[in-house]
Amino acid sequence: MTKKRTLPTGAHFMSGDIACAEGAIAAGCRFFAGYPITPATEIAEHLSERMPEFGGIYIQMEDEIASIAAVLGASYAGLKAMTATSGPGFSLMQENIGLAVMTETPCVIVDIMRGGPSTGQPTLPGQQDVMQAKWGSHGDYGIIALAPSSVQEMFNLTIEAFNLSETYRVPTLLMGDEIVAHMWEKVVIPSASEIRIVNRKKPHVSPSEYAPFMPEDDLVPPMACFGEGYRFHATGLTHDERGYPRTQNSEVQTRLVKRLCEKINKNADKIIRVEEVMLEDADVVVVAYGIVARAALSAVRKAREAGIKAGLLRLITLWPFPEKHVAKIAGQAKAIVVPEMNCGQIVREVERAAKETPVTFLSKLGEDPHTPQEILDVIRRCS
């Protein structure tokens, strides 16, 4: 796959990290800045080799704070840009993820989740960063986070992450885990013409009329880039539609922050993707994401074989949270089961959306994700 300027169209056996890197290239990403960290390093390694073949840029920065800052700079200079990290680096990036939200910078941040807190378990999987994905930076904002559960999805959802990020001018997070990142599986890479690519919308007014943060009907402002003659200003301070700081004005603050939330919330139906398996008549529904959803699917099938009406709601989009989908299954199922590799994070959102329907949480930490048997045992108890 090296020294080639085109996509490796066809079937391959590859790791999730490499699939993610190839997905980035397929999506049109031409700038990667990162810092080595297990279990995301292979994304950087692969892109250091592949980016130049496409005329793209790879740079290893001095830390994760610099990496995300450089990604923002490259995006404003007109390139699709990405960084990849794991928990400790994701924590370091949070302030500038907020800057990306505030300045509406399209970019993709890959977080390959490992065991935390702190240095935790660098080589083992986790799902402990999913609340940080939503709430990690200070202040209120909307954000998009996707959870791949296969190597194929590491490829597909990386492209999707870029498309969403360009559409809504919002940092988009790919929340993988150590297993989907390091696992090797079959991946089918389509030809370039079969891949849907979305690019940020550009201004259709003259530089003198251009207001860089004036939204259109979809609540997203068209984006000029540096060097295009628009001479605009962007700041992390509360700003008006011209991009000028308005730090003492509550009306401007309200208008801006509400729009940053609403451009995601009001477009949630267009953003959210889930996979629904055997939900039509399900009495017990497992809600799962990432690698855990693979075991959940197996458990649901085994339950069906045993005559239990079980189903799976797999969350592909974590944020904005698919609460309508959860509310819908809660209306028909007797019980919901949420297995997660943390001490209870997405389960809180499920409980909130499920209202009266009982939710059973199944926590697992450490080396192995849930086995199908462990999830099946809970399905049996709930049925």
């Binding site: 073949e53 200079a77 540096f226 003659g229």
Partner: protein
């Protein structure tokens, strides 16, 4: 009848952002003025200029300049600018920020951008303290100086910024004070014509916040200090370029040629691209 005449430099400023936030006696306006003079004398294309700032009083410069501009988080101007310069090397990328922003919270980015020799041009207004937050001790506060967080006198040794820049690999290093407006303007012009990472420190008065706690209550008194103490020592050893009540060593310390990171990068990309034959 009075006819309104636009200031010849009005085109360089975003007039809608005025009035500026700076205190009477502040040196930031002089730094901006010298920068604009340099742009004007070089007839720089404002459409290809990007001004990046961090947080602090001088951080507002990005917004005041009528070019593409970005006001980053605290300390991250250089890292952001690195992404801009690499993504589009045609752009002139200038970072204008303060001593706390560039050398405390952002110190790591400074030394690494200088080491890599990224072609961004950095101007630091050194006012010896954190002005915007009310005058706390910072990485350039002189020993024994009084600030709001060193009420008994500062016991931290300050950075020598020009020595740090030279040691980190900058291809152009100079220090002036806001009294040296012509030399500073010339220096900015020289820097804007160079390849690679360049750094100018501008010793700048902060009478309202720093000076009044240190026996220099007015901008004039601070400028008097600069006049009395400044000694031009071009190409002297930057490690000996002191800033003390008695002596402020100013001048150009480094002016060398070294291939920039972005040139090496894009040359390499072109070579690899040529070899990439297609699938």
């Amino acid at each position: 009848m009075v006819q309104e005449v636009a200031h010849p430099f009005a085109k360089y400023l975003r007039s809608a952002m005025m009035p500026h936030i700076w205190c009477p006696g502040c040196g930031n306006g002089i730094v901006l003025n010298c920068f604009i003079h340099a742009l004007d004398e070089l007839q720089k294309d404002l459409d290809k200029l990007v001004v990046v700032s961090g947080i602090g009083c001088i951080g507002r410069t990005a917004g005041y300049t009528n070019a593409d501009s970005f006001h980053t988080t605290h300390g991250r101007a250089i890292a952001f600018a690195t992404g801009v310069k690499l993504a589009n090397p045609e752009l002139e990328v200038v970072v204008i920020s303060g001593d706390g922003d560039l050398f405390a919270i952002g110190g790591n980015h400074f030394i690494h951008a200088a080491r890599r020799n990224i072609g961004i041009k950095v101007i630091c207004a050194n006012n010896f303290n954190y002005g915007m937050t009310g005058g706390q001790q910072g990485p350039t506060t002189p020993l024994e100086a009084s600030t709001t967080t060193t009420p008994y006198g500062n016991i931290e040794h300050p950075f020598n910024l020009v020595h740090l820049a030279a040691a980190s690999g900058a291809t152009y290093v100079a220090r002036w004070t806001t009294l040296h407006v012509r030399r500073l303007t010339q220096s900015i012009k020289r820097m804007l014509q160079k390849e690679g990472f360049c750094f100018i420190e501008v010793v700048s008065p902060c009478p309202e916040i720093f000076g009044r706690r240190n026996k220099m209550r007015t901008g004039l008194e601070m400028m008097e200090w600069f006049r009395r103490a400044s000694v031009v020592e071009n190409f002297s050893d930057p490690s000996k370029a002191e800033i003390s009540p008695e002596k402020i060593v100013v001048g150009e310390f480094v002016n060398t040629e070294k291939v920039s990171y972005e040139r090496l990068l894009h040359e390499k990309i072109a070579q690899i691209n040529e070899k990439a034959m297609g699938w």
